[in-house]
């Protein structure tokens, strides 16, 4: 019951926002913040009361806050939700990130009421996906998150928003239908003909038919790979990110991508253990390719937001590397596979916090100068020290500096994967190097040197490089009234949204036990289930 309240509270708030027509702009965002805050408090309470348990670790047993109602009786699909060590951290991440986005959007000038309602709707969809223990329910929320994000990008994006939104919708919708086909395969392959994840994981379907199992895993893997996104299905991601509003990007990268990786841990691995073992090497290889591809393509970007988007591909590659290594039962002991799984899960949370912060920071750039191009910005450390500090912290965290959550995550992924797939792991470590290089390069371009700030009315093609005459911009200001001549530093609501995300990443980097205590038993259960 509590979990149901947590899931649907944002939707209720969204309904209120839509139903009451004359809410002032600030109050609408206020409703969003209040709903998200209450939701986060409830999730916090759930976390506090959550007992991982000794024998009951999660996935197939030890599920807390369970609710199970019949929904579509003809195919035995139900409203079955529950919380375990896998879903709880992601539920908490969702709560934190949506609250941060709400605070960040406090001064949203463009139709704030509908904007807030859409985000609250999205929050329900994301929470629902993480909490669902039924394949069809998972699919329902998964699909609704796509619908919600489509309207966010199409309605509040900039640049070529409509096109990017369409690309995003079509691409991820293909993925979700592949997922649906795979789910139907699981249903028909199971003995008791059910969509219930717990029952399916306890008694895996298609265990004795490797071809059918492989095909079903292919369909599910395809669907999740599009969402994650993994090479070569990542092409929707940069466009969607570049044209989405900052809060939309933060949610897209921070939460929606996790729906894909979470699906691997929650569905593909425990329900199709035999197929996952057989094809784990493919996951490892795809993961490593994603790591390198994302890193190198990010290096080549001239646009801040596109660069961050490609680093998401890179970071999700580590997740898949860890999960793939967890399936290589023959060449690794269970301890190593558990560590790899824990690392992958940790990376999901860590990436959500850090990339969320990075995208919000890039939104600050857009709000000041309406461009993300590297060559239109420079020397921001002097006029905007707080912005510079936040960006530096987020970038260092993201490249995996010890002391931040990203380090804990990547370290565990590599430790766990080294035994099973040494070559792949060593290659993937190269990715860290490239990421470090590109983040340092980005910091250098944006923060150091002469101060360069774009003026809104200048055409893009003039920005061939830091033009000396533009450094103070005073001459042009006289003729162009709305031109930003100086970079304004972070405002209160921007700080209030970004700094807590970075602080959390730091806390999780310094005191990893907070999260590990919850994650480890569940990860162990997953590793055990895969090893069947």
């Amino acid at each position: 019951m509590l979990l149901t309240v947590v899931i649907f509270l944002p939707l209720l708030a969204a309904g209120v926002l839509l139903a009451v027509p004359r809410i002032p702009s600030r109050a609408a965002i206020g409703v969003w913040i209040a709903a998200s805050a209450v939701d986060l408090a409830l999730i916090g309470w759930m976390w506090w009361r959550f007992e991982p348990g000794e024998g009951a670790a999660g996935v197939v047993d030890g599920l807390a806050y369970e609710a199970d109602l019949q929904w579509i009786p003809t195919v035995d699909a139900g409203y079955h939700v529950g919380v375990d060590g896998l879903s709880l951290p992601l539920l908490a991440l969702t709560g934190v990130l949506f609250l941060a986005c709400g605070i960040y959007s406090l001064r949203e000038p463009d139709r704030p009421r509908i904007y807030a309602a859409l985000f609250l709707f999205l929050q329900t969809a994301c929470l629902g996906t993480f909490a669902s223990l039924d394949l069809i329910l998972f699919f329902v929320f998964f699909d609704l998150s796509i619908v919600g994000m489509y309207f966010v990008i199409a309605g509040w994006g900039h640049g070529n928003a409509r096109r990017s939104a369409l690309k995003f919708f079509l691409y991820t919708f293909i993925g979700s239908l592949a997922l649906l086909v795979g789910f139907i395969g699981l249903f028909l392959g199971s003995e008791e003909r059910t969509f219930d994840m717990v029952a399916l994981a306890a008694n895996p379907p298609l265990a004795d038919s490797p071809v059918a199992g492989g095909l079903v895993l292919l369909a599910i893997g395809l669907g999740l790979a599009v969402k994650t996104p993994l090479f070569p299905f990542h092409t929707w991601l940069p466009d969607a990110h570049t044209d989405a509003p900052a809060a939309g990007s933060a949610v897209l990268a921070g939460i929606l991508l996790k729906l894909g990786t979470y699906g691997f841990v929650r569905i593909a691995m425990p329900i199709l253990p035999e197929a996952w073992q057989r094809w784990a090497m493919v996951a490892v290889v795809v993961g490593v390719i994603s790591v390198l591809w994302g890193a190198f393509v990010a290096l080549a970007q001239t646009d801040v937001k596109r660069m961050i988007a490609y680093t998401s591909v890179n970071h999700m590659g580590y997740v898949l590397l860890g999960l793939g290594a967890a399936g290589l039962v023959a060449s690794a002991d269970e301890g190593a596979r558990t560590v790899a799984t824990v690392g992958a899960m940790y990376q999901m949370v860590s990436h959500g916090l850090l990339t969320g912060a990075l995208f919000l920071l890039s939104g600050v750039l857009w709000s000041r100068g309406h461009t993300y191009a590297f060559d239109r910005w420079g020397g921001l450390a002097r006029p905007a020290p707080v912005f510079a500090a936040c960006l530096a912290v987020a970038a260092f965290g993201s490249l995996g500096l010890p002391g931040f959550s990203g380090f804990i995550a990547e370290f565990q992924v590599f430790t766990g994967a080294l035994q099973a797939a040494p070559v792949a792991t060593v290659i993937a470590v190269l990715g860290i190097l490239v990421t470090a290089g590109l983040f340092l390069l980005a910091l250098q371009r944006l923060l150091t040197g002469d101060t360069v700030v774009p003026s809104e009315t200048e055409p893009d093609e003039m920005g061939g490089g830091p033009v000396p005459g533009r450094t103070d911009g005073g001459a042009v200001t006289a003729t162009l009234p709305r031109k930003a001549s100086r970079m304004a530093d972070l405002r209160g609501h921007e700080m209030a949204s970004i700094i807590p995300l970075l602080a959390l990443a730091l806390i999780l980097g310094l005191f990893p036990r907070v999260l590990l205590d919850v994650l480890e038993p569940a990860a162990m259960a997953v590793a055990e289930l895969v090893g069947r």
């Binding site: 929904w71 195919v75 199409a154 649906l180 086909v181 139907i184 249903f187």
Partner: protein
């Protein structure tokens, strides 16, 4: 006939109520002044609702065949009865917006009732001759309805519809004749026994002819050419009627044909139907891609929807999941399709997507309901069509047509593309506030404010109701399915 007691007549109570509604409406209309024709509408609605209630009451009873096995009363028939009766009731009100005060208002309502009756007859027929009668009853009133406005587009649509209908009607008769020749009987029960041993050539001709007949009524490829022209040529409420009511009956008829007489024949009829299904959804979707006219877009979308429905027809005899899947999808499709056409009827002057988006401009809730209906047609959860689609996919795969499920999934993505072509301009224009106010005001003059207001009221109500019902049917499917299909 000796065995025709009271009970067997009462088994047809829902149909009789519809018939009484039609005849009573005609008589009442004759003696009612022009401006009081709403009485007829009321009578017709009451008849429909009573028929739906009677059908719902009869639903849990065990399946039976009445009138010497010609009329089958089972779950499929029951669901079709309810959906058709309620659909006709809603469509009568939807049509009243444009028909109110029309000199032949009563006739339109009566014809709509009779067409609905024909649709039920198609679904319930357990005999080839009744199938032919149902085909005619579901066709002839619709010819008149298609051209009811008597404008050039309507007349052209009627002409095309009629010629095509007459041609396919002949094919149907040839098919029936061939089957009678092959088996010597017209009853489905006997056909199921005798057809497996019949001559394959005769069987092929018979099956092709009969399937052509039902495919025409359903608007499936390759006899779908009338759908876009008739839909775009007639008024939006009539288009909704023509693309909803007869389709339901025809798909149910095809389902029964596959499940009973064609189940044991040596030819691979399910494969043929599967190919028809794949072709319908693919061609319907491809043709819809570039449509700018909202009615034509919806017309092709109905062609593709029939493709999904024919998936479950193909596996009618192969899996027990087929009957519930058909019932869910039929109900979901009827609700959602009527809602989408009501959206068109809400802005009758707008023919293209951009016109529509401009016309509804500031009415945010209209756009929300439209989005629910269109995404419902895509099969986005948690709408009714999603539940139906899920059930259909499961049934088709269970029946050994996994390849068709993959094609259907790909087609679903493709269909999203053109629905989004409508959703995107409508949704983004919602907030473009002031610029559209002027355009909305420009629509006003010509008619007085009072009638303009009245004109669009019913479609708006129907659209919102359809969106809400679609969501409720989807979310609450656990509740209503246990009542309708206790397993």
């Amino acid at each position: 006939m000796t065995g025709m007691g009271d009970e067997r007549v009462l088994a047809l109570l829902p149909e009789l109520l519809l018939l009484f509604g039609a005849v009573g409406g005609l008589l009442l209309g004759l003696w009612t002044p022009q401006h009081r024709q709403w009485r007829v509408r009321l009578l017709v609605t009451v008849a429909c609702l009573a028929s739906a209630v009677a059908a719902a009451v009869a639903l849990p009873e065990p399946a039976e065949r009445v009138f010497e096995g010609t009329w089958v009363v089972d779950t499929t028939t029951g669901v079709v009865r309810i959906v058709v009766a309620l659909g006709v009731a809603v469509l009568v009100w939807l049509a009243s917006a444009s028909l109110g005060g029309h000199p032949r208002e009563t006739e339109a309502y009566v014809l709509m009732l009779l067409g609905g009756l024909g649709s039920i007859a198609l679904a319930a027929s357990g005999d080839l001759l009744l199938l032919v009668a149902g085909y005619l009853l579901a066709s002839v009133p619709l010819y008149a309805l298609a051209g009811f406005a008597k404008d050039s587009a309507g007349v052209e649509a009627t002409m095309k519809y009629y010629l095509m209908g007459a041609f396919v009607g002949v094919l149907l008769l040839v098919g029936v004749a061939a089957l009678v020749l092959a088996a010597g009987t017209t009853s489905y029960v006997d056909l199921a026994v005798l057809l497996p041993d019949a001559s394959p050539a005769l069987l092929a001709v018979g099956i092709l002819g009969v399937l052509a007949g039902v495919a025409f009524k359903a608007g499936a490829v390759p006899v779908h050419f009338w759908v876009p022209d008739v839909t775009a040529g007639t008024t939006p409420p009539m288009a909704a009627y023509i693309t909803t009511i007869p389709k339901i009956g025809a798909v149910a008829a095809a389902f029964r044909l596959l499940a009973e007489p064609f189940a044991g024949v040596p030819l691979d009829v399910p494969l043929l139907v599967a190919v028809i299904a794949a072709a319908s959804m693919t061609l319907g979707n491809l043709a819809a891609f570039n449509q700018t006219d909202v009615l034509r877009l919806l017309a092709y979308s109905t062609v593709s929807q029939v493709g999904y429905l024919f998936m479950v027809v193909a596996v009618a005899a192969r899996t027990g999941l087929a009957v519930p899947a058909l019932a869910i999808y039929l109900a979901g499709y009827a609700v959602t399709n009527i809602g989408a056409f009501a959206a068109v009827a809400a802005a009758p002057a707008a023919r293209t997507i951009t016109d529509w988006a401009t016309a509804v401009g500031r009415h945010r809730w209209l756009v929300v309901s439209l989005v629910v209906c269109l995404l419902g047609l895509v099969g986005t959860p948690p709408t009714a069509v999603f539940v139906g689609k899920l059930a259909v996919f499961v049934a088709a795969w269970d029946g050994g047509l996994a390849w068709l499920v993959v094609i259907a999934a790909i087609n679903t993505v493709a269909s999203l593309f053109y629905y989004l072509r409508w959703i995107a301009p409508a949704a983004t224009r919602v907030a473009a506030s002031e610029s559209t106010t002027a355009a909305a005001r420009r629509n006003g003059p010509g008619t007085s404010g009072e009638t303009a207001q009245r004109d669009v009221l019913e479609p708006i109500v129907v659209l919102h109701a359809a969106a809400v019902v679609s969501l409720l049917l989807g979310i609450g499917s656990g509740a209503w399915l246990t009542v309708v299909l206790p397993s």
